[in-house]
Symmetry: C2
Subunit: 267 residues, 2 copies
């Protein structure tokens, strides 16, 4: 089964386009919990509410060599069938990108990954060739720094760089396994990129702590979206009943997404 | 001591602007050697010929969870005083970039890292604040895909994107710890970027297998350069005397660099 089919299957089963980011930060762990126990509790509290999970590798690498084992055990704890996106944002020359693909797809067994397009096609190509896996190319990211390069206008086309990335992604999408990362903090950009990348799956972070607009994300993104939230779910509480609060936050966000989707269907 | 002072110290001591990339690939290991033994042999054979080493994390991540331990042991085997650049090419939103900085600088103890600029200033900022560490921002990379985004002309300025990155790097370089990655495969670009980033340390890959031109790299780059080679040194031989051949390849490349530097001083 392809990543995209798997996302649709899980999204339908759980009636959810929500992705929970598994980004544990030591300073936010509830007392008495280690990272793995914490992740397990979050997964158990939310597994029927998501279409996928997305651990960001940075938070595991920050733990040192044990971090990678914690990540592997976290992935194993995710119920079979729920896709897992490795938020790695890797990008390197072809020869090296192949090694990253081996790490992310074969060693960790991620179903999809995020990739940085700055180094161009040969940095993406080794991932494309895993036709059953998914890849999300950073297009227009949710952070303030997005303006520094991604919003720069490209000559002749008068397009911002991130839209050129969207055109490239469509061109490279021979196997239908490419998606784009677009922050909900840039609704106008999201609208234009959806027009360029008509059918591509969009991974949309930034609706929680970062202040992005959920309504416009759904209005412009349409149905082929994954709304990703990390801190707003994970840090709902750090008391002993944190998992319950995370579940409530996930339930609430899923409901908001579904309400917006229902509005679009009526509209 | 800052990374830059350390590079100058080691470069003077070893009369070398050569960086050896420690990028072990299983299919190229000599019979009977594991990755760690192989790395140790390469380090022992070349430690008096380099100004730094540069392991690319991809080749260790591809080994699974033991890869990180092998990388840590490899770093420990590098003689004290020789700086080590973690070729990680990371880039993420500020909050996450902080976690990557902890991983690379505190956990692995790298003296410098490579970073991807696509996500802009807040993805770089957490690394800048480690004032004794170095960071090399990908500017104009050595691979074919460099043309896809990096060579795209930016409106109003008529500059390619990679030159905009060079201007940004100069602007961000408040603590003097920022350098740039520029492939020797783009000599004209290197010449222009050296004019923009007058004093920045340039990390220059691409002179070996990738076919970049050493003479123009030194002519345009000047003295503040680090010439990086991986496959041309590591794969000099995969027989039992591979370390000797790697030493010869490193000696030869160091000599070529020094000859070019001497020409520039005469010119």
């Amino acid at each position: 089964m392809t990543f995209r089919s798997n996302i649709e299957l899980t999204a339908n089963k759980n009636n959810s386009r929500l992705c929970v980011g598994l980004d544990p930060q030591k300073e936010h762990l509830p007392p008495g919990f280690n990272v793995l126990e914490y992740n397990k509790a979050i997964i158990e509290a939310t597994a029927d509410l998501v279409c996928c999970y997305k651990p960001n590798l940075a938070f595991y690498e920050a733990l040192g060599t044990t971090g990678y084992q914690i990540l592997q055990k976290t992935i194993k704890h995710i119920p079979a069938g729920i896709p897992v996106i490795g938020d790695a944002k890797r990008g390197d020359i072809g020869n090296t990108a192949k090694a990253y693909a081996v790490s992310l797809f074969n060693q960790f067994g991620f179903d999809a990954v995020t990739l940085n397009p700055y180094m161009g096609f040969d940095s993406i190509e080794p991932f494309i060739s895993y036709t059953n896996k998914g890849l999300f190319i950073l297009c227009c990211t949710s952070n303030p720094g997005a303006k520094d390069l991604q919003m720069v206008k490209v000559m002749r086309t008068n397009l911002p760089l991130c839209e050129l990335v969207a055109y490239k992604a469509v061109e490279w999408n021979k196997h239908g396994n490419i998606g784009l990362v677009i922050g909900a903090t840039h609704p106008q950009q999201l609208s234009r990129i959806r027009q360029i990348a008509n059918d591509l799956l969009l991974l949309i972070p930034g609706v929680g702590i970062q202040g992005g607009n959920l309504e416009s994300a759904v209005r412009y993104g349409g149905r082929n979206i994954i709304i990703s939230a990390s801190r707003s779910i994970l840090n709902a509480s750090n008391g002993p009943d944190f998992a319950l609060y995370s579940r409530k936050a996930a339930e609430n966000l899923r409901k908001q997404i579904n309400n917006e989707l229902a509005k679009q269907n009526q509209g």
